[in-house]
């Protein structure tokens, strides 16, 4: 077990390192942060730009900058933003909770909706509730999230004025972004729950549970669902990564001050330290979550624990 864990963690660190190298290299191909900071100014000479480059430290060779960044990572010092000089750790410190709470709220919405709907679809297979749920899920799958977000804003924020159109300010501000992300996840998850549930319901232990005279709810939610959970959990782990990627668009529409917004602005400003750090943190997170999911299998399914 310890050997397995060490190997997995080393793999994870290696992956994060590769990601940082690719990002650090790629962003430097896309433009000069000094020129961007001087945009809109009057006469900017090459000497002025050179001064700014020296101040930002981008005049040094790539490997010096990259190893400097790695060295900082070891002490959790991400450097300072090129735009305004705020420490990157401070920016991430406020953006990460905003993104994570939104991601979990979205997952929560999706779980709360997809489990009952998926189970209902499975138990009424081929009848109208199943058809309706499948159509709903198909529509959900084909929605682009920015469109859904805009429609929600038009309805709930402008026409009805029940919810704030954007911002990160208390419970009510979570509702629309979490529902936008959650509904789109639900569309996939409902199908997943339905399929695995159908498989499970055919199995012998369900027949036994029914034969024992257990109530149908107990059969479905205690015995059958637990066996679906492992598939669902794996999938949620994979989804979590996609969620953090897809959140950029939703964060922008809802003006959510999270990692997506931070990354987006950093790309526009060629803010190397911020972009590198955001991507490093996000990739570490995604890799970490997948590692945890692997370990969590054991908790849910005792058979894996003993293997």
């Amino acid at each position: 077990m310890i050997g397995f864990l060490t190997k997995r963690i080393l793999q994870a660190i290696f992956t994060v390192l590769v990601v940082t190298l690719v990002v650090a290299f790629a962003i430097r191909l896309t433009g000069d942060p000094a020129l961007i900071s001087a945009q809109g100014g009057g006469t900017v000479t090459e000497a002025d730009l050179q001064r700014i480059r020296v101040a930002l430290g981008v005049d040094r060779p790539f490997y010096v900058q990259y190893f400097g960044f790695l060295k900082g990572l070891l002490t959790l010092d991400f450097g300072r933003s090129f735009v305004g000089g705020t420490p990157v750790s401070q920016l991430i410190g406020t953006a990460l909770p905003a993104t994570l709470t939104l991601a979990f709220a979205s997952l929560f919405v999706s779980i709360v909706l997809s489990i009952p709907l998926g189970v209902k679809a499975a138990t009424t297979r081929g009848k109208w509730p199943d058809q309706a749920i499948r159509i709903f899920s198909l529509i959900g799958l084909s929605f682009p999230n920015f469109w859904l977000a805009t429609m929600l804003v038009l309805l709930f924020a402008i026409a009805l004025q029940w919810l704030p159109p954007s911002g990160y300010d208390g419970f009510s501000s979570y509702i629309m972004p979490a529902v936008t992300m959650g509904l789109i996840l639900t569309a996939t998850n409902v199908r997943l729950v339905r399929t695995t549930m159908l498989d499970t319901l055919r199995s012998q232990y369900v027949m036994v549970a029914r034969a024992k005279g257990l109530s149908e709810t107990k059969v479905l939610y205690k015995h059958a669902l637990r066996n679906c959970a492992i598939v669902l959990l794996t999938f949620l782990g994979v989804q979590f990564g996609g969620l953090l990627g897809g959140i950029v668009v939703v964060e922008r529409v809802f003006n959510w001050p999270g990692m997506g917004t931070l990354a987006f602005d950093a790309v526009a400003a060629r803010d190397y330290p911020v972009l590198q750090s955001v991507i490093t943190v996000l990739s570490a997170l995604i890799i970490g979550v997948n590692l945890l999911i692997d370990l969590a299998y054991g908790l849910i399914d005792p058979r894996i624990r003993t293997q």
Partner: protein, 509 residues
Amino acid sequence: MELKFTRSLLGALALSTALIAASPSLAAGKLTVSLSQDPGSWDPVDTFLVAWATVATNIFDGLTYRGPDLKLVPGLAESWQVSEDGKKITFKLRQNVKFHDGEPFNADAVKFTFDRLLGDEGSKGPQKSNYAAIEKVEVVDPSTVDFILKSPDPVLLTKLAGYGAMIVPPNYIKEKGEDYFNTHPVGTGAFKFISYEPKIGVKLEANPDYWGGAPKISELDYKFITEPATAVAELQAGRVDIVVPPIIPISMVPTIKGDSRLELMSVPGPTVDALRFNTRDGITADVRVRKAIIMAVDRKTIVDAILAGQASEIVSFQSSLSLGYDPDLKGLPFDPEGAKKLLAEAGVKPGAPLQIDIRGNDATMNEVAQAVSSYLQAVGLNPTIKPYELNVLLNDIIPQGKTGALFQQKWGGWTFDYDNTAYSMYHSGEKWNPYEKDAELDKLLESQRPMTDAAEREKVLKQIAAYVNDKALELPLYNSNAIYGVNKRVKNFTPAPDNRIKLNEVTVD
């Protein structure tokens, strides 16, 4: 006993009356403003961003002040005098002005500000080069300073009204440090800084001791909203009172106009768009072809149809508000037949290919380029549009001279002085001038820089515009309006062409 009671009552009454009289006029209400960008730092030497200036004009003051009418008036300097040779400006400073932290504003603060801007701290930012004409600032007495210039700079007094020239508090910066000042600015302005949350917003409160009179609202709340649709939604939901340009897209103008609670305020801004020519290679190296292209395009229709009238057509690469603008300068007329003739004369074969480079993220220009392209097709050319990622276009394509026959240039100098544009666009060796080398034009551009007589200089600037027009160095397009979306509960608000909206006179219902 009774007498005593009455007396103390009277005393209390008198005291409270005195207190009411002594307190400054009651500021009330909060105003929420949406900004399209978070400048990251509030230090005047750090940035060129208009979003910075929108907020900072309320926190800081310059020696001079320029409001929405673009007239230069005294700011922290009560008066000034320019020496005969234009190389010394003496400022008489306003007295009894205090920074928000209580330290006095005086000649030392002015000297500190410019020593800092022109020294190491300024070197890290983009502002220093704008003030390169200043050699040093000398303190004459606590309320008098001399600016000693290396060479006369006719735009300097305007430049002292904004951006890098905002006066900063010496003791505060020395005590708290540069990093702290970035995120906790202190100035002499109408509003005091309360808090700043990166990517979320910045809050200010009224400065009751403001030398220009206490503001009429108590709190200013700026929110950073980058997505146009979101900014407009917040305005419609009544959670934002003013949406500051440049964010409201032309396509959303009807939405705001159609909402009875909102008002659309639109003024000509500094931003101009042109498609400039590659005058070095290909068919556009021939002046006849360039003229033909200009004549082939109907700019008026483009402005009316695509920009919904939220712009005005231009014949020279400047706003009508800029010094150097010549209302009498006539551009080439819209004349497709004449264009065809010129093309034939230049030996351009029908179907000749032509590439137009534009900024991919500029939705308006994408539509405009389509229109330009069909106008050019109508005279027998075969244009293709190439949208670039903004920074690629600005870093790797234009300055390196790798553009197509035409390339988009967007420009907007807040000083509203044609020199700012013209010098960068047309002088040999400038970053934004990869193709043209013209000794005569260089001489004209250089000749106006040391002129201290504004009228004389304006004449030369007009000559430059006429010269460029004559050589057909660009296809001038339009000067965009600065579009503000404003909730009708906001009273006494004047939209500024340069986004620097000082909100001390504004009230809210």
